[in-house]
Symmetry: C2
Subunit: 406 residues, 2 copies
């Protein structure tokens, strides 16, 4: 790789400070931070990708307005309340979050990105939010990434944070990121947020292009339960304080690859941390006719309840994998499909040319019992490949999602 | 209704005989029939609808060839082995099933419909199949529908059988049907088969038209786990022995409606009988801009793991319902959506114009605790409506699908 992983998350790039505080949105529990603030010392190029769900939460609408300029300086995000399905009041509250943040930081409301995740259909307790923002502003620190990463979590079990460093013309450039998952799984909880920062010099257009392609290859290929939330948002800020940025195709390629690496790292953590999940399932589709086909099939397999249940049970049920590929709506010749499974425990071919390969059940089961399982499907049709990430379907998934109020 | 429900299933219409026998395909258990035969005394108009899965089992391919003529006299079906992903041998075996059946019945192999359901990737034990077909031929009876209905079951808990009678110009016309489910849920098991018979006089074209529209409104709107199998098939035979058939638009409408009723009855049984299911979920979408939109949204809601889990937990989690509608890929204005739940325990509005309605949690939970739960979503956009059928997601689903081999 042309970059090295370093600590520091979103505050690893120059000129970014962050904080995470307890504002009182989550059930009275002072250990649970629920309001995050990320601030750039200077106005940054900004780009974002939003949920494709037709039902979109108020903060997304406001952020969309604000990022029309392609510039931003701050991100304010709360967990515990999604501010979704809250009508006019919700829009007012999201605007107010930006205004309060801007006022305290002495910037324009239009320079503030607003994000929320949590309960749907309940108005934001604005008094708590405002107090939380003031508190967070006081605690802003160049080492505040971890606190911010904690503050955006909902049902996640693990903090999701990373940073990478590489060089342009001898000058170091850093990209950092934090994210929360973990599937629209816990009652009323929305799915995923990711906030990325970099000190590279990029135009809003360059940044948007790199973000869209990185997200398509990573976050858009995670599936925990197939449900797409109302609050999904990935935002990147580039404040240019490294003094250098991609000035050639080659440098742009390096930046884009590093950004994708950061997104993939966070995406894998989200899939691995899927509610109730005991295993990460990585589905690699090879030899597809087109990239779209490869993605469709990878997503269908990673999203199949039957495949997910089989992996939970360490059952090498390749018929389900082939079937999921069959209904993905992509070009497929069953008679050419090879299926393999792979993990720390080894590798085994389950099917050859669409028919059973003779494999060792015990070994296959051992492979599927690992914490991270890879399913490889070669369509033998073309050159396109794609990787999707998912998790197994467990009793806990049903338990968490069924017995919330009971 | 313009028809009455009568006993007799597929042998209720004149000139149909059926049998179900134990051929030894299922684990040594003589109580479990596994080979069915349905025969018409005369050559019948025939129509069929097949799985959309790109991976199609051998019997589907052979049946497709045979029904090119639009005529058939017999249906031979086995459970316990899907004859899928079995390559050239599978095609040979499916052809052989038709040949043996034809030989015994003294008809042409092209007049035989072949269907299989069960384990994927294992060759058919043809000796057992052939002996089974001979045995079934000897047991053919005008009251054999029930035995045939039992013989096509796999993981189903209940036999699925019905017949209806109505009149054309004073002469009785009967439509009968049997089906098996119950979701591609049990390891290696394929999904659904439905065999329909009628003594009405119809051309293959009329029959195909009526079948396609009935299936689109019923079987194509069931979702148990979102997985589409390699062996799905719905076949209808019309032998004309009632002497009457639809001769006017009005009479065709009556026939089509009765056929759809039979399909809906069987489709509901399949959803209700979904593996591990404790409840039938009926999702009615109203006020959609187009029929396609209505179907997409109904299917998305009925198929959402979050909605299915919430119903299992009797949790009136309307946010999940609205979210599923939001990602269905159909026209939707969240600000107009009304959501209701209904069951034997009553009715309650959960959301109004996309925002929370004040409802009684306890009552809502009671409504969702019924055996059959209806979710009504009014988009308030247009006139189109659709109903999808599904079931809740339970611990048993995961258990059955995870611990098959372990």
């Amino acid at each position: 790789m042309e970059w090295e992983v370093i600590p520091g998350g979103v505050t690893a790039p120059r000129g970014f400070r962050a904080a995470g505080v307890y504002a009182g949105l989550k059930k009275a529990n002072r250990d649970k931070k629920d309001l995050a603030l990320i601030v750039s010392d200077t106005l940054a190029s900004a780009a974002a990708v939003y949920t494709t769900n037709k039902v979109q939460a108020a903060p997304l609408k406001i952020t969309r307005e604000h990022l029309a300029s392609g510039r931003a300086r701050a991100i304010v995000a709360n967990s515990g309340n999604a501010n979704a399905c809250t009508g006019e009041q919700g829009l007012k509250d999201a605007r107010r979050m930006a205004e309060v943040t801007a006022e305290i930081l002495g910037i324009k409301p239009q320079e503030v990105v607003v994000a929320s995740t949590g309960v749907i259909g309940v108005p934001l307790p604005m008094d708590k939010i405002e107090a939380g923002i003031r508190k967070a502003a006081q605690e802003l620190s160049p080492t505040g990434s971890r606190a911010a990463a904690e503050a955006i979590l909902t049902t996640d079990l693990r903090v999701k944070e990373i940073a990478v460093r590489f060089h342009f013309k001898g000058s170091p450039v850093v990209i950092g990121g934090i994210a929360k998952g973990s599937g629209m799984i816990h009652p009323h909880m929305a799915t995923m947020l990711a906030f990325l920062t970099t000190d590279a010099v990029l135009s809003p257009e360059q940044l948007k292009k790199a973000l869209v392609s990185a997200v398509d290859n990573t976050f858009n290929l995670i599936t925990v339960d197939g449900d797409t939330s109302t609050n999904d948002m990935v935002v990147v800020l580039a404040n240019g304080l490294s003094g250098v940025g991609p000035t050639s195709e080659e440098e742009y390629r390096i930046f884009a690859a590093a950004l994708e690496y950061v997104c993939r790292y966070l995406a894998r953590l989200i899939a691995r941390d899927g509610e109730g999940a005991s295993r990460l399932i990585e589905v690699e589709v090879r030899g597809a006719a087109t990239l779209t086909d490869a993605r469709k099939i990878a997503r269908a397999i990673a999203g199949s309840n039957l495949v997910k249940s089989a992996v939970f049970g360490a059952d090498a049920n390749w018929g389900r994998i082939l079937c999921a590929a069959g209904y993905a709506g992509a070009e497929l010749d069953p008679g050419r499909v090879d299926i393999f499974i792979e993990s720390a425990a080894g590798c085994e071919q389950l099917a050859s040319k669409g028919e059973p390969a003779c494999f060792d059940e015990a070994k296959a089961s051992a492979i599927l019992s690992a914490e991270e399982v890879k399913i490889i499907v070669d369509l033998n049709l073309g050159q396109a490949t794609a990787v999707a990430y998912g998790c197994d379907l467990t009793y806990d998934y049903v338990k968490i999602n069924a017995s919330y109020r009971t």
